[in-house]
C-alpha cells in the first residue's frame, strides 16, 4: 500500500463481491415488471437481398400478439455510433445487408408467441450477390452495399508524420511483414438484454445491459423523437461488455418502440446465437508494414497499410481504422510514420470496438517485426526495445503526449521476473520465450459525438446522520470494478473508511457519464468523484470551522477523524450535542478527536442536506491534422509482457506456460482490481492469439455461434500470470491513476507470437495460432 494513502492502493473487497458471490446481484434477467410483454425480432436469413414485400397480417392475427412493427411503423432516422456515419436503420428499409439484419419486431404476451409471430411474418426477398470478403467487396463491378458509399469503402485514412521516404533512404536495414487476423467475438458472459417501460408520465425508462447508458439514452432519444429528458437509461449489474456493448442495440430501440406503442413493459433479449450474428466485436485486420532502422537499432520510419473487414455497418469502425494507425506512434520513438488504412463494407455483421480498440493486431505485427529486426541486427529483443522506448515527457510523431510512461520499469521488470537473460537463446527446440510491449489511451480525449459536454459528473450526498456518504454517478460498472474504484477515491478524498461510502451508478438520472469504453472511467469519473468528495469535505469542514470559530485551514479529515492543527480546541460541547441526539445508542463517539460522523452530522444540522458535485472533461488535446482526435488522451498506460510457451512439435499444439506481465497504471486504486484486469487481458489476448475466430459459411451465416464452438480459453488453458504493477504517477490522473483496462491486452498476442517464433524458428503471420496452422508450417518447412 502506498504510504501516502489510506485506502488507495489497498486490496479492499469490491463493492460487488458479496452480491455476486452469493447470487444476490441484480442483472436484467432478475428484474421483473408487472404486465411485461416479450419481444422478438425477425432477422434476415439472407446476407444481401432486396426486400420486395413484407406481410405481417398472419403475425398480427396470432392470439397473444400485441404489436408488430416494421420500418413502416417507425420514424426513418438513421443512427449509428459516429454521427459522421449514421448508416443504420432500426428495421431494414428495402434492403438487408447481413444475415441477422433486423426487419421487424413483435411484442406478445409470452416469448413463445412472440417467436411464433415473428416466424409468421412473410417477407419476399430478391437475393443480391453476397460480398463476404474484402476481396469480393472491392472487386471490379461489385455492387455497393450502401448507395452512399462508393465501392464499399466505409472509411479511409491517409496520414504521414515526418518524411517516411527520406527516412528510409537513411536506414541501414528495412524489414517488411504482413499479418492477417480473424474476426473476434467478445464472448461476454451475459447476452444483451433490455426492458423498456413507458410510464403514464410520458417517461420512457430503458433497463439495459450496456456499457454506455448515456449514448444509449441519446440514440433512443434521437431515433424515437422523445426528448432526452424523457428517456432514462438504467443499467443494473452487467455481465461484461469489452466493447460490443458500447452502443445502443436494435433491441434497445425495438423494445422502446414496442413499449411506447403498447404502454406495457417490453423485454427483449439476444440468444447467444444472436450475440454472434449482431457482432460489433473485433474486426478482422490485414496489416502490412515496412520498418526502417539504423545499424544501432534506432527506429527511423514506419510505412503501414491496414485493411479492415468491417461488415455491413460502420458501428465504431471509423475510430477503429484510425486507432489501427495512430496507436503505433508509441511507445517507441518513431520520428516518421505513414499510414494508409481503409475499412471495407461486407455482407457480414458489423464489427466494432473490442478491448484494445483497433490497435491489437497492428501492435502484434509491429512487435513481431521488432523481434526479426533484433535478430537481423544481432541484438537482444529486450535491448532493442529499451533503446527505442519513450520516457515520461516524450511526444509521439502524431502528437500523443506521454505525461507519464513507466515503459522502462515495465520492460526491466518482465525481463528480470521471467529470467529472460538465462532463457533467451538457451531453450531447447519446442520451447520459446518472447517479449512485447504496448501502450493505450487512458480515456478518449473527445466524446463520440462532437460536443463540449463534460465527460462525467458526479454527485455525493452525505447521509443525514453523518454516518457516511453516497456517491451518485452515471458511470457504468460492467464488472471492471468502477463502483469500487469510485468508492475508494471518494473515501480517500474525504478521509473516511471505504465502508462508509455507498455508491449508486449506471443511471442517466445521476448525471452525465460517457460510459465504460476507451479505458476512461478511472481517470475521468475518478477526477469527477475526487472533486465532488473534496467539495463535500470543504462544506463539512467549513461548517465545523464556523461552529468551532476557527480558521477552516486548520481542519482536515483523516481515517474518519477530524484533525485540528495548532492549539487544542475544546470539542466537548459538540460531542455532548451529538450524544444527546443518540440517547439509547450503545456505541458513542469517543477519544480525543471529533469523528467524521460528528462533523458531518453537525454540518447537516446547520445546512440541511449536504450535496456536492464534481465534473471532468479533458483539456484540449492533440494535433490539428484530420483524425487527430482519435488516439488523443489525457494519459497513456503502458505495459510489457514476457510469454513462455512450449510447442508440441508433433501436433502443433501450443501451451502458454507462463506470462510475466508488468503494467504501468500510474497509481493502483485497488491493487486486486489492477491485477484482475491484467489477468483478464492475458486470458483474452491468449484466446485471440491461439483459438478464436468467428467463421462464416458461403451463405454468410456464422458457423460457430456458441461458446462450445467459438473457443475462448478455459482455466485449463491459462498460464500462471505474474503481475507486476508499475506506478509512474500520472500528473493528469486522479491521485496519479491511469488505465489498465485495455492497455494490458496490447502485448499479449505479440509476446506469444514471439515466443512461438523462438520455439519453432518460424514466423507465423496469421492468427489464430491453431495446432493445425503451426503443424502445417512446420511440415512445410521440413
Amino acid at each position: 500500500m502506498s504510504a501516502a494513502y489510506d485506502v488507495i492502493g489497498s486490496r479492499v473487497p469490491r463493492k460487488d463481491a458479496a452480491p455476486k458471490a452469493t447470487g444476490q446481484a441484480v442483472f436484467i434477467e432478475d428484474l421483473r415488471f408487472k404486465g411485461e410483454l416479450a419481444g422478438a425480432l425477425l432477422q434476415s436469413p439472407h446476407a444481401h437481398a432486396l426486400i420486395k414485400s413484407i406481410d405481417v397480417s398472419k403475425a398480427k392475427a396470432l392470439p397473444g400478439v400485441v404489436e408488430v412493427i416494421t420500418a413502416a411503423d417507425v420514424p426513418r432516422v438513421k443512427y449509428g455510433v459516429s454521427p459522421a456515419r449514421y448508416d443504420e436503420d432500426l428495421f431494414a428499409v428495402n434492403k438487408v445487408r447481413y444475415v441477422g439484419d433486423e426487419i421487424a419486431a413483435v411484442a406478445a404476451e409470452d416469448l413463445e408467441t412472440a417467436l411464433k409471430a415473428a416466424a409468421l411474418i412473410k417477407v419476399e426477398y430478391e437475393p443480391l450477390p453476397r460480398l463476404l470478403s474484402v476481396e469480393e467487396a472491392t472487386a471490379e463491378g461489385a455492387p455497393w452495399i450502401h448507395d452512399e458509399f462508393p465501392n464499399n469503402v466505409c472509411a479511409e485514412v491517409h496520414q504521414e508524420f515526418g518524411d517516411v521516404a527520406t527516412a528510409f533512404k537513411e536506414c541501414d536495414l528495412i524489414q517488411e511483414g504482413r499479418f492477417v487476423s480473424k474476426r473476434q467475438d467478445a464472448a461476454f458472459i451475459e447476452p444483451n438484454q433490455c426492458v423498456a417501460i413507458y410510464g403514464q408520465d410520458g417517461m420512457l425508462t430503458l433497463h439495459s445491459s450496456t456499457q454506455v447508458p448515456h449514448y444509449v439514452q441519446r440514440t433512443v432519444s434521437m431515433v424515437t423523437g422523445l426528448p432526452m429528458s424523457k428517456v432514462r437509461v438504467v443499467k443494473p449489474y452487467v455481465g461484461g461488455g469489452f466493447g460490443p456493448k458500447a452502443a445502443a442495440t436494435p433491441i434497445d430501440l425495438a423494445a422502446s418502440f414496442l413499449a411506447l406503442r403498447s404502454g406495457r413493459p417490453v423485454r427483449m433479449a439476444y440468444t447467444r446465437e444472436q450475440v454472434f450474428s449482431f457482432g460489433r466485436a473485433r474486426h478482422g485486420f490485414t496489416h502490412e508494414m515496412k520498418i526502417g532502422v539504423k545499424k544501432d537499432g534506432s527506429l527511423m520510419a514506419l510505412e503501414h497499410r491496414a485493411t479492415l473487414d468491417g461488415g455491413a455497418y460502420s458501428s465504431f469502425g471509423i475510430a477503429t481504422v484510425y486507432y489501427a494507425g495512430s496507436l503505433l506512434g508509441g511507445p517507441y520513438k518513431l520520428p516518421n510514420m505513414k499510414y494508409d488504412g481503409r475499412r471495407i463494407y461486407t455482407n457480414k455483421p458489423a464489427c466494432g470496438a473490442q478491448r484494445g480498440h483497433g490497435g491489437v493486431i497492428a501492435r502484434a505485427l509491429f512487435e513481431q517485426q521488432l523481434d526479426i529486426i533484433a535478430e537481423r541486427l544481432g541484438m537482444d529483443p529486450v535491448e532493442l526495445r529499451l533503446q527505442n522506448m519513450m520516457e515520461t515527457g516524450d511526444v509521439t510523431c502524431n502528437d500523443l503526449a506521454m505525461s507519464s510512461l513507466g515503459m522502462r520499469q515495465c520492460i526491466e521488470a518482465v525481463a528480470q521476473g521471467s529470467g529472460w537473460k538465462q532463457k533467451k537463446g538457451a531453450l531447447p527446440k519446442g520451447k520459446g520465450i518472447g517479449i512485447a510491449c504496448g501502450f493505450f489511451v487512458s480515456g478518449a480525449g473527445y466524446p463520440i459525438y462532437r460536443s463540449e459536454t463534460y465527460h462525467c459528473t458526479v454527485t455525493i450526498k452525505a447521509d443525514e446522520d453523518g454516518g457516511g456518504v453516497k456517491v451518485f454517478t452515471a458511470a457504468a460498472e460492467i464488472g471492471q470494478g468502477s463502483d469500487t474504484t469510485m468508492a475508494i477515491i471518494a473515501a480517500e478524498a474525504l478521509g473516511i473508511p471505504y465502508d462508509m461510502v455507498r455508491i449508486e451508478s449506471g443511471d442517466t438520472d445521476f448525471g452525465i457519464d460517457l460510459g465504460a469504453y476507451s479505458s476512461r472511467t478511472t481517470l475521468m469519473t475518478g477526477h469527477a468523484t475526487k472533486e465532488a468528495a473534496e467539495n463535500l469535505k470543504e462544506v463539512i469542514l467549513g461548517e465545523l470551522a464556523g461552529e468551532l470559530g476557527i480558521d477552516r485551514r486548520r481542519l482536515d479529515i483523516k481515517r474518519g477523524l477530524v484533525k485540528i492543527a495548532g492549539e487544542a480546541v475544546d470539542i466537548a460541547p459538540l460531542r455532548v450535542r451529538y450524544q444527546k441526539e443518540h440517547r439509547g445508542w450503545l456505541s458513542q463517539p469517543e477519544g480525543g478527536q471529533l469523528t467524521f460522523n460528528e462533523a458531518s452530522r453537525l454540518a447537516c444540522l446547520r445546512r440541511g442536506t449536504l450535496v456536492a458535485t464534481g465534473k471532468y472533461k479533458p483539456p484540449v488535446l492533440g494535433g490539428k491534422f484530420k483524425g487527430a482526435a482519435v488516439g488523443t488522451s489525457p494519459a497513456y498506460g503502458c505495459s510489457a509482457q514476457v510469454a513462455e510457451v512450449s510447442v508440441d512439435m508433433e501436433t502443433g499444439q501450443i501451451t502458454v506456460e507462463r506470462v510475466t506481465d508488468a503494467h504501468d497504471c500510474g497509481q493502483a486504486i485497488n491493487l486486486t482490481s489492477v491485477e484482475a484486469q491484467m489477468q483478464g487481458s492475458v486470458a483474452m489476448g491468449l484466446g485471440e492469439a491461439l483459438f478464436e475466430e468467428v467463421k462464416f459459411d458461403e451463405a454468410g451465416r456464422v458457423m460457430n455461434p456458441s461458446l462450445g464452438e467459438y473457443h475462448i480459453p478455459t482455466i485449463m488453458d491459462m498460464p500462471a500470470v505474474d503481475c507486476i504493477v508499475v506506478e509512474s504517477g500520472e500528473p493528469n490522473g486522479p491521485f496519479g491513476a491511469k488505465e489498465v483496462g485495455e492497455g494490458a491486452i496490447m502485448p499479449t498476442i505479440p509476446a506469444i507470437l514471439n515466443a512461438v517464433r523462438d520455439a519453432v524458428g518460424l514466423t507465423i503471420d496469421e492468427t489464430p495460432l491453431t495446432p493445425e496452422r503451426i503443424y502445417m508450417a512446420l511440415k512445410k518447412a521440413k
Partner: protein
C-alpha cells in the same frame, strides 16, 4: 431457442420405463443427463412429445464384474467413470470420460447417452471401441447384445431400436499384461469436441515384449468411431516398441477417412491420427508393463 413443450415421466424402474416407451409408440425419447438431447431440442432438431427420465433408475447405475466380464451401467456419469470406478475402469475409458466436456457436463453426461448419440469422435465411444466393448439392449421382448462395430451405424445413428433401452456396457476385465491409452486433440484443453481422438489397447505375450493382440480406435476419422484393421494387423505378433508403433501409426493414418471441415483439414487429421496412435500405444504399453 426455447425448449419445446413435452410431458416428463419418471419411471420407478426399468420395466416401467420399457412399458412406457412401448406405450408411447415412437412419441417418446429417453432422457439421461440431457446434455445432448435437451441441447438438440432447444435447437429444434428434435421435438419428442414425451420424455422418459432414466436418471433415477438404480438398475442403470451399477458397475461390477461377472466372471471375466466387466459390466458398466448405462446410467453411470462421466464424472464417476473419470474417477476410475474404484480402479475398475480401464485406463483409456477413464481418460476419455475425464476429457469429456467440463466438470459440470461430466456430472450430467451418461455413458449410455454418449453411446447412443454416437458422435464420430465421442470421448467414451472411441475408448470403448478399442476395448472391444459390447452393449446390452433391452426391450419388453428381452435382451440382445451387440458389438460396438455393429452398433455404430452413422453419425447419431445406432442399432438401437426405438423400443430398446441400452442398459449395460460389457467388456473384458483388464488383466495383467494388458494396457490401454487415450489421446484427444482439440484447440483448447477442456470443453472441446475432439478434432481427432484415438484410443489403443494391447495385450502382451508372457514374454512381456511380443504383442499378442491390439486394437486401435479412431475418432473424427470416419462417420462413426472406427477400428483400424491395419493398425491391429501391424501390431499383432510384433515386438512392442517404437518401430511397431510407427508402423501401426502409418497403418491407422491410411485407414482413416477424415474429411475437410471448418475445424480442420483431412490432411492434418490424418497426420494427427498417426501422432496420437503412437502416443496411445505408448501409454498402453506402459500400463501393460505395469509402469
Amino acid at each position: 431457442m426455447l425448449l419445446p413443450s413435452f410431458t416428463y415421466h419418471r419411471p420407478g424402474g426399468l420395466a416401467e420405463a420399457l412399458a412406457m416407451l412401448d406405450g408411447f409408440g415412437g412419441q417418446a425419447k429417453l432422457l439421461a443427463g440431457g446434455t445432448d438431447l435437451l441441447v438438440n431440442m432447444k435447437h429444434g432438431k428434435q421435438a419428442p412429445a414425451q420424455l422418459i427420465d432414466l436418471d433415477g433408475l438404480a438398475e442403470l447405475k451399477a458397475s461390477g464384474s461377472r466372471g471375466d466380464a466387466l459390466e458398466l451401467g448405462a446410467g453411470l456419469k462421466a464424472a464417476a467413470i473419470a474417477g476410475g470406478l474404484g480402479g475398475a475402469a480401464p485406463q483409456a475409458l477413464a481418460q476419455g470420460a475425464g476429457a469429456l466436456g467440463s466438470p459440470q457436463v461430466r456430472n450430467r453426461a451418461s455413458l449410455g447417452g454418449n453411446l447412443v448419440t454416437a458422435r464420430p469422435a465421442a470421448d467414451m465411444c472411441v475408448p470403448l471401441l478399442a476395448l472391444g466393448a459390447r452393449v446390452a439392449l433391452v426391450s419388453p421382448a428381452g435382451e440382445r447384445q451387440v458389438d460396438l462395430p455393429e452398433f455404430f451405424l452413422g453419425p447419431g445413428l445406432t442399432a438401437l431400436h426405438p423400443s430398446e433401452v441400452l442398459t449395460r456396457v460389457l467388456l473384458a476385465k483388464p488383466r495383467p499384461g494388458e494396457g490401454s491409452g487415450y489421446g484427444k486433440l482439440g484447440l483448447r484443453k477442456a470443453l472441446e469436441i475432439p478434432l481427432v481422438n484415438v484410443a489403443a489397447w494391447l495385450a502382451l505375450e508372457a514374454d512381456g515384449k511380443t504383442i499378442k493382440e491390439a486394437r486401435v480406435a479412431l475418432g473424427a476419422a470416419a462417420p462413426t468411431p472406427m477400428l483400424s484393421p491395419g493398425a491391429a494387423k501391424a501390431l499383432a505378433g510384433a515386438t512392442a516398441g517404437d518401430d511397431a508403433f510407427a508402423a501401426a501409426a502409418f497403418a491407422a493414418a491410411a485407414d482413416a477417412r477424415p474429411i475437410d471441415d471448418h475445424r480442420g483439414s483431412a490432411e492434418y487429421r490424418r497426420d494427427m491420427v498417426a501422432a496420437l496412435t503412437k502416443r496411445c500405444l505408448g501409454q498402453a504399453l506402459a500400463q501393460a508393463r505395469g509402469n
